[in-house]
Point group: C2
Amino acid sequence: MTEKYTYDLSEGDASMKPLLGGKGAGVAEMTRLGVPVPDGFTVTTQACVETMRNGGEWPQGLREQIDDALTRFEQRVGRTLGASTNPLLVSVRSGAVVSMPGMMDTILNLGISDDSVGAIAEESGNERFAWDCYRRFIQMYGEVVEGLSGHAYEDALTAMKQRRGVGLDTELSAEDLKELTAEFKKISNEQLGGEWPSDPREQLFRAVEAVFRSWQNPRAKVYRKANHIPDDLGTAVNIMQMVFGNRGETSATGVCFTRNPSTGEKALYGEFLTNAQGEDVVAGIRTPRPLEEMEQVLPKAYRELVDTMHTMESHYRDMQDMEFTIENGALYMLQTRNGKRTAAAALKVAADLVSEGLIDKEEAVRRIEPEQLDQLLHPAIDPSNTAKPITKGLPASPGAAVGAAVFDADTAAQKGSSGESVVLIRFETTPDDIHGVLQSQGVLTAHGGMTSHAAVVARGFGKPCVAGATEIKIDTEAKTLTVGGKVVHEGDTITLNGSTGEVFDEALTLIPPRMNEDFLKVVGWADEIRELGVEANADNGPDAAKARELGAEGIGLCRTEHMFFGEDRLPAMHEMILAGSDEERQTALDKILPMQQSDFEAIFTAMKGLPVTVRLLDPPLHEFMPDLVSQALKVQEMELKGADEQDLATERQLLAQVKKLHEQNPMLGTRGCRLGMLYPQIPEMQARAIVRAALAVLEREGETVELQIMIPLVHLRQELATQREIVVRAADDELAKAGKELAYRVGTMIELPRAALVADQIAECADFFSFGTNDLTQTTLGISRDDAENGFLGWYEAQGVVKRDPFQTIDVDGVGQLVEMGTRKGRAANPKLSVGVCGEHGGDPDSIAFFQQIGLDYVSCSPYRVPIARFAAAKAKLAQAQAK
Amino acid sequence: MTEKYTYDLSEGDASMKPLLGGKGAGVAEMTRLGVPVPDGFTVTTQACVETMRNGGEWPQGLREQIDDALTRFEQRVGRTLGASTNPLLVSVRSGAVVSMPGMMDTILNLGISDDSVGAIAEESGNERFAWDCYRRFIQMYGEVVEGLSGHAYEDALTAMKQRRGVGLDTELSAEDLKELTAEFKKISNEQLGGEWPSDPREQLFRAVEAVFRSWQNPRAKVYRKANHIPDDLGTAVNIMQMVFGNRGETSATGVCFTRNPSTGEKALYGEFLTNAQGEDVVAGIRTPRPLEEMEQVLPKAYRELVDTMHTMESHYRDMQDMEFTIENGALYMLQTRNGKRTAAAALKVAADLVSEGLIDKEEAVRRIEPEQLDQLLHPAIDPSNTAKPITKGLPASPGAAVGAAVFDADTAAQKGSSGESVVLIRFETTPDDIHGVLQSQGVLTAHGGMTSHAAVVARGFGKPCVAGATEIKIDTEAKTLTVGGKVVHEGDTITLNGSTGEVFDEALTLIPPRMNEDFLKVVGWADEIRELGVEANADNGPDAAKARELGAEGIGLCRTEHMFFGEDRLPAMHEMILAGSDEERQTALDKILPMQQSDFEAIFTAMKGLPVTVRLLDPPLHEFMPDLVSQALKVQEMELKGADEQDLATERQLLAQVKKLHEQNPMLGTRGCRLGMLYPQIPEMQARAIVRAALAVLEREGETVELQIMIPLVHLRQELATQREIVVRAADDELAKAGKELAYRVGTMIELPRAALVADQIAECADFFSFGTNDLTQTTLGISRDDAENGFLGWYEAQGVVKRDPFQTIDVDGVGQLVEMGTRKGRAANPKLSVGVCGEHGGDPDSIAFFQQIGLDYVSCSPYRVPIARFAAAKAKLAQAQAK
């Protein structure tokens, strides 16, 4: 049996959106509710999908079904497509399941022809209108359906206007347009070699085909990719009777929202134009009028419209975005859908709808798009900005930054600390640049990915960052940035959009973050719903305070290495690394201990008794040293220039050390607990600093921090057992010396495949697991993030080889399987084990949905993603409950 | 209830080896069989293990049980330890489960004392003998049990000989020795502060303690590590009545083997000395006489000994290594064990024992230590060599090489091709050195691990290689190698032992590889038993021929990248990499195609119709380019020295390319099928070259190669699907053009954790899986092999954090779990899937045992390990059958 590929309006309803598309289901639902909608029928998404699968061939029966549906349609309205009496004109529009505004094609006025144009002129009493429709149709059909170039038509129109000595289309007469129509037909015939189908039914088939095709056009693909819409959904096609808003002063067209989409306020919001078609509103030839004024002009239609808006909002229990046309005083609704809105509006609408009793709190939470909240949490570029970016890199740390370009960290630090707004531009940043980063509004790098040093540090400090902007050329001598022929000198103002990766060579207006009552109300409901704990990754006091303010229930990851990068600390760190004996190493560590302690005190103070999970030193030691290439070049330069022998000896020695620490693959090298195994004094020092800090805060603030000490990069049970013993011995020694008691827990990162595979063995020594899904993704997939995002992985994404960047959204099949396995095995061996995630996936809504499914205890993410995670966790819980 | 810690000889038998140790079980078994053995008892390994666990404290009841056992012993022999009449003297010897010759301690003559010395003199009728025993005992007890230094005793002995004006110990009289005994006692008392225990029972307890302790001494630990003997087995202690081979001309001592341990020939083999103790044989003071001569000297004892040898060999059904003593014409057996033997002997003995009907073929195979066969397969350093190595690196490719030192590849190539034997010495090798490697006897590098370029290439070519000899300093200008104060100049002869990593600064004698009838016979039995297929990794015709000769059933891994490293090919490869357009790339690939084709032809010809699995291009492209640091230095040097602008521009451009290709973590970078995705022309060219070669060989040789094309580094189903399509399209096109048919299969390496985790998805597009366990280990454990083996991993091994190098023997819990999972899932999705391993684990016996357990189809290893793998696979099958 053949599928049913067409549905008359009366056959559909809102629930059939997957089959009829948003528009098709919307107009069917309105018809059901008695709202006036032009008659017509819908070709299903299924028909489009099968056509794509067949390489463009229509499925069996589709043509016949369209033919039949059209015949029924003609019978209902008593008109015939393209007929010389009572002709039917139709619009042919795309209608995807998820709204993709403007991405696909539309054909209007189909059915107008040499046969029918006379009847239309007569019926409308407006010959000019009839010929205007006809010439527009020929051009639209030619361009959209037959793929002809629009230039020839435009040239003919311009020539006509010149001949007539007029400036505007509207100044052409009916006779002019008739002549133009003839010319347009000639143009089409010439381009098509005479294959112009004159039968309107044939034109309709071709138009449907064209709409199917437009699902695959490049801009639609890009839009879907950006919005994570699957490529295989296909579009429905809506065939509806044309109604005309341009049939005189009692006709009009417009769009309206049931609430304000910018603010969420409950007030009419919309625009209309009398004697106009939809295109006129969009094209901006005439300025539309505010909807309120319609009450005066077309009072009956206005009242009907307002009633319809109330009806539809109550019916859908959400703010509606509607299109309407009034033809000779009669209102027709052409479309209704849930209106797109800003984050602020989304929160207000959700809160209000609950107050109004239209939806419950769960539904309100369900309505929030967590990702959208990002808008609220960073100063953002004013959405009305129209400037063009000079280049685009990776959106490495969200928010916007405006400041003067500087090309080295010292200048950035100096200018920044004297109150100037600067943006630091580097090929890539190193630990030596940290002081400059701290004093900048934002960071731009030509190299490196989403976990590059610049990106990690910037996110840690909540600074916007655009990384890996590979098109830019940086000349550090001349202090210039060059891209696409444009040159930015030191001191020139630039703007970064860390949320999109865009870079502008001017100062754009920023708008401040907004966290209002509505936000607090709705996020409170989310907190009531969610099961997953939400903690934050934060490495210093201010970040911890920000995290707490944004609702973090603790610090799930406090990295201790950024503390070592401080200008005042790097020398002690070098001393530790270069130590020739255990004694020398201990001396250096003794210097570092009080610094670490004060860092921890700041964090513990900010968290006021909430849990803090401190990860012991993680990166390979060479990260604290100069770069190998630079140091080799430096030594050679000194040699060739005959530098002082003493200086040369020092630099040579440093080079030897750098060479010794150099690793082919540092990601797989001597780091994490491997350092703690080789140099047990390091974890010992860190454990002492943590406990001393906790005791100091208890003493001073009366707050007992919930301490968790986390061992990184464990892959063997023995590693954790040894490290745990070192930590416990040092911590207990400090407590004994102080004569105090303080509970603390020792756990581990699970960030290597083996750790997940033998989680049962490791769990025997752990109080908690925190999945480090960044590194786990790198090793499980064999992808070095820094190398790949500008390389093959970006290409894979562009080509659709991977659907989602696995570093943004967890790879459920691979990495997810390990997280699930590690959790299951870990808990089986140790039922008291608590399990969370502290990779970037901890702040990604889709990943959070997975973590909810497999029953993790908590996620930890960067402070500014905490609110997003709170909503995402609540929505994940709701979705899971619904699925059951 | 207390454990039973002591066993009288009559209480034990051969099956109790784990409890009584090899020696204890051996003498108990001999007792059971009526062979004359001195009476005594054994303290169990269990007692030692518990003592170690208690931190040196003896377990409850041990002291009492030894006391009782001694009393029973005294009653049986009618003698009393240390008594003045009928005194009992005993030996106290270690006896581990696995023989550890000479690694632990022994105390002889315990029971001699001021009380008993007189009776001993009287009984033996030899006062000198009694006092000689006594002074020896005091020294041995002092050194071994009480940990005193031997110097003072030696000095006293020397002084005595000087006073008496004699050269040899044996020239001292009874009186002299009595005086020396008194001096020795004084020395002991002084050093111990008077705490010298005079009670022989107390001495016995302490001696047992000392033997326990010696299990933990450094040389025993090193020996166990080298031989993979677990550290927690403990040693038994054997207390036996002393018998004396030095009581005159009717006394003697000796060792004997039931067959020749060097050749395996069935002939008496042994040595003896009359009027001597065991030590005299070992110390080499007197030259022992061949065993055959004993027939003349001590005919009765000789006949008894020969009978005993036959008895014991038949009983154990294996060649025995025995120790005996004849006291006054009476034969006593002190020890019997399966004799250690060379690989050649092992094969001959096994083959002969089968012929003699003593064992069956399965038992013969079970007796072969596969690892030992390595001896047979490479020219080896004559085992009688006593030279001291100048340094030691990693044993990167087995075998021995002797040749003149050269420090650059060009010289090596030139001298080598003119017939000179050279050894190439480099800091590390690069693709540019390949011609030098080819013409060298072996390679020595200061840098790099077991998978370094040098190591991989050397193994590929079957050349010995010592890599990562970190102690050596290489001066390429002066052409010298310096280590430990020694300097090797170009042209000086050196010897490498690639099986041990040792380097010698002289020419050592080599012995050629031996593959005789016995080998072929026994390996044939192994082939009948094993289920696992054994294939080889080989990249060129000669290697393929060698693999086939050594019994490989196919090529399981033919890497195609080494072919690109050839001097004549690198330029075309550079052209391909630097290509600015698809057309330029294609032009370069067109040059490479015929070169690849001819390589494949050579391999297919050598394999004569056996399967060949060709892996498509795998390494990141920058491996074919100059090193980043060198190129940066070169450019800077040219800049500072003011080089020609044109030349400089060229080098700068090259530097820019090298920078662009540079990756932070190349192991996780753009390589494997990722290259084939980005540049589909590469797999296409390779597929064409493979098929053309197969057709050419079919035409010329009439041999149809069983073609398998393997896609590397897949982690997504889509990658394999795309690559498969490219390969199939190209291959089918070649076949169509030639008008021929040829079956081929397309499969993939499983070498990333994700690939194993989603093996079900990947198997849908694969005809076969080959686990690349080298890379799989690196990513699963997060360990970069090159960095780690000279770094933390070596340290982990030394410290016992890991028991075995996971790159040598598969990590069963982690990596093994993935191999098992990938196999299971893959076969579930595709029941026709064949599954093998082509990492280095494919040639490791313990890993092969695991692969047998999880039911893989085949292993592939380097050609010289093929015989080892054949035996290991057979033994694994036998072990599995036994376990069932």
